[in-house]
Symmetry: C2
Subunit: 187 residues, 2 copies
C-alpha cells in the first residue's frame, strides 16, 4: 500500500474499533488484521497504542467541529443557531453508529495519570467551547464579553449532558430536555 495511505488506513480502522468497542477492549492485533496492515508497519507509523488513541481523538474531533459549526451557521440567526447544535446531536444520535461522545468515553477508560490522552481530550473540548463562543458573538452581538463567556459555558455543559445521557438511557429525551433549558436561558 502507498505510504501516505497507510497512516490514514490505520487511523480510520482504529477509530471505528475504538469508538464502537472502546479503547481498552480493542487490541492492536484486531487493528492490524482489520486494516490489513502489518504489525511492523503499524509500529513504524505510531510508537504506541496510546499514540494511535491521540490520533483517533483528533480524527473524530476535527470533522465534528467543522460539521457542527457549518450546520449551525446554515440556520437563521438568533437562538436558532444555538438550538441547531442540539438538532445536529439528534441526527447523530439517530445514526446507527452512535455510541456517545468519544472523548467522554475515552476519559473514563484511561488512568488519571495519562496526561497525553487527557490533554488531547481537553483540547478538543476547549475547541468546542470556542465554537460556542463564536456562535454567541455572531448571534448576540449586544452581549458583553463576560456575558458570552458565562453563557458559552452554560450551553457547553448542557450539550455535554445531552450527549452522554442520551447514550446512557438510549433515548433522546435528554436532547429534548436540553433544548428546553436552552430556550429558558435565551428568553
Amino acid at each position: 500500500m502507498k505510504h501516505s495511505l497507510v497512516r490514514e488506513t490505520i487511523i480510520k480502522t482504529a477509530s471505528n474499533l475504538f469508538y464502537q468497542k472502546g479503547y481498552n477492549l480493542t487490541g492492536i492485533n484486531e487493528i492490524i488484521s482489520e486494516s490489513g496492515i502489518a504489525k511492523a508497519t503499524l509500529y513504524n507509523h505510531f510508537k504506541s497504542k496510546e499514540d494511535i488513541c491521540v490520533a483517533y481523538l483528533d480524527y473524530l474531533n476535527t470533522p465534528f467541529l467543522k460539521n457542527i459549526e457549518d450546520f449551525a451557521l446554515s440556520k437563521s440567526k438568533g437562538s436558532e443557531q444555538i438550538l441547531a447544535l442540539f438538532d445536529f446531536l439528534e441526527k447523530f444520535f439517530l445514526s446507527e453508529n452512535f455510541n456517545g461522545c468519544w472523548c467522554l468515553n475515552t476519559i473514563s477508560e484511561i488512568p488519571n495519570q495519562n496526561i497525553k490522552i487527557r490533554n488531547e481530550i481537553q483540547k478538543g473540548k476547549t475547541e468546542f467551547l470556542k465554537l460556542i463562543v463564536r456562535l454567541l458573538e455572531i448571534n448576540f452581538p449586544n452581549k458583553t464579553k463576560k456575558e458570552v463567556a458565562t453563557l458559552s459555558k452554560q450551553v457547553y455543559l448542557i450539550y455535554e449532558s445531552a450527549i452522554s445521557e442520551s447514550h446512557l438511557h438510549q433515548n433522546k429525551w435528554p436532547i429534548k430536555t436540553a433544548k428546553e433549558i436552552i430556550e429558558k436561558i435565551f428568553t
Copy 2:
C-alpha cells in the same frame, strides 16, 4: 474469615479498585491479592467479574443516594435544597478520591450489548431522578405533576454534566456554571 464478612470485603476492595483504576484495568488477581481472599472463595461468592461489577455499582449508589438526599433535606426549603445537590457534589469533587461518576465511567467501558451492567446503571440513575422529583414536590408544592416531571429532568441533566465535566477538566467551574443554570431555571 467469617462468611458474612467475605462478601463485603470483596465488594469493598473491588469497589476501590474499579472506581480508581476503572473496570477493565482492574484484574481479578488484583482484587484477590488486595483483599486477601482466595480465588476460589471469590468465585464462590460471585460467578463472574461482571457480577462483582453489579455489586460495586450498587455498593456506591445506595449510600450516595441516601447521603445526598439527607444533605439536601438539611437545608432550608425552596431552591436551596436543589442547589444543595451541587454543594454536595462540590464537596465530593474536593475529596481526594474523586474520579467522576462511577456509573458514567463504567458505561463507557462496557460493550453496548452488556445489558446486565447497563440495567444496573440505568437503575441507579432512575433512583437519582426520583430523588430529584421528591425534592421538587417538597419544595415547590404548587407545581403540577407535569411541571415537576419536566423540571426534574432538567435538574438531573445539569447535575450529570457538572459531575462529568468537573472530572474531565479537573476543575470546579462546571459545578459553578451548573448552579448558575439552576438559579436561572428557578427564578
